[in-house]
Symmetry: C2
Subunit: 214 residues, 2 copies
């Protein structure tokens, strides 16, 4: 089973690494980070680059496709090389997945038209504008298309996928391995739970968010 993680300039790191850390540990999985060109790809914050080991042209039939979000998704979703690769990979994939605004890239490739999907809470309206049917859920399955909400939600998505692919025993083992027993000291992880101040802050500073349109 091959897992391909797509990188593009200004992706959000945890979107990719959260689910990668779990999915890549599935027994029998081979994971490869891909980009238009092999080599370092710089993230949204500018302070970290991840290495894409192979170019898109060399990885055309992955079983699982994972698309992270980030401000760069706005360019990626209009990049015909990326979109053509996604359509090709999706034609034979078992699961086509995204985290955060990665779903906008899938939508840009036409893969989410009429499907239930999600994205970062700041981008739900954009997802609808590109033809999907956004929901407020943290992880959304619609057939083989699996989309997660903002950034850290990819970890929950990965656990759901581990259960579907490897079964509950494998999923629980890997949850234990990465000690995913979350205990956030605040309860502000969604727009429904966060103080109004925090919601308003990001609506006023979307340029600084992974969901940025820039």
């Amino acid at each position: 089973m091959q897992i391909a993680v797509l990188l593009y300039d200004r992706f959000t790191t945890l979107d990719a690494v959260g689910p990668y850390e779990l999915l890549a540990r599935l027994p029998g999985a081979e994971t490869v980070f891909v980009a238009k060109e092999a080599g370092p790809v710089r993230n949204d914050q500018g302070s970290l680059a991840l290495v894409a080991d192979r170019p898109l042209t060399e990885v055309t039939g992955p079983d699982i496709v994972l698309v992270p979000g980030g401000p760069g998704s706005r360019q990626a979703m209009r990049d015909e090389t990326v979109l053509d690769w996604l359509r090709t990979a999706d034609a034979t994939s078992t699961w086509t997945t995204s985290v955060c605004t990665g779903s906008l890239v899938l939508a840009g490739a036409g893969l989410l038209t009429g499907r239930r999907a999600t994205t970062h809470w700041l981008s739900l309206e954009d997802l609808e504008a590109f033809g999907a049917e956004p929901t407020g859920e943290r992880v959304v399955f619609d057939g083989k298309y699996v989309t997660a909400a903002g950034v850290s939600s990819g970890i929950d998505m990965a656990l759901h996928l581990l259960g579907r692919i490897g079964g509950d025993t494998v999923a629980r083992r890997l949850q234990l391995l990465v000690e995913y027993d979350p205990r956030p000291p605040y309860d502000a992880g969604s727009p429904e739970k966060a103080p109004a101040e925090a919601v308003a802050y990001w609506r006023g500073h979307q340029d600084r968010a992974p969901a940025a349109r820039g």
Copy 2:
């Protein structure tokens, strides 16, 4: 405020990226990934490299030091170049932190002797052997030394640190930004909660764990 994230061969990716994703978004923070030599550093799974932008010699006075864990921690904790750097950085740091078996590297540098600390659940005895006083808590503060349990716990550690450094308002904003509203579909994230099968599995396969002694 400068944050230095240490990379070494066979580190566990989420250990570094989980807290990075939050801490690096602190207003005024500058984050730099460092290693003995600048360039790509390969992770524990072998399928991903992160780029260290600067060598240790160029980053000697960070305000926050973050040391991830991973099987490679067993080499790093005996690498005098790494340990000398840690002692130097710690001499002027505001916070010296680790995730998972990163605490073994701090202990190797003599920084946790007699201090309350934690690590991956599979390595608590090793941490004690190296002079620290391990606890079963997910995030442990002992003065400026902050250690987190396995892999994903670094995200919780970062939220605690955000609160101490930037205040509750900033911490809640960033929790909302990354939508950290965890909803794991299983409740197997600690040895107390996981099925006995899962605990036994990893005790029998420590070579495959981030806490591996190899």
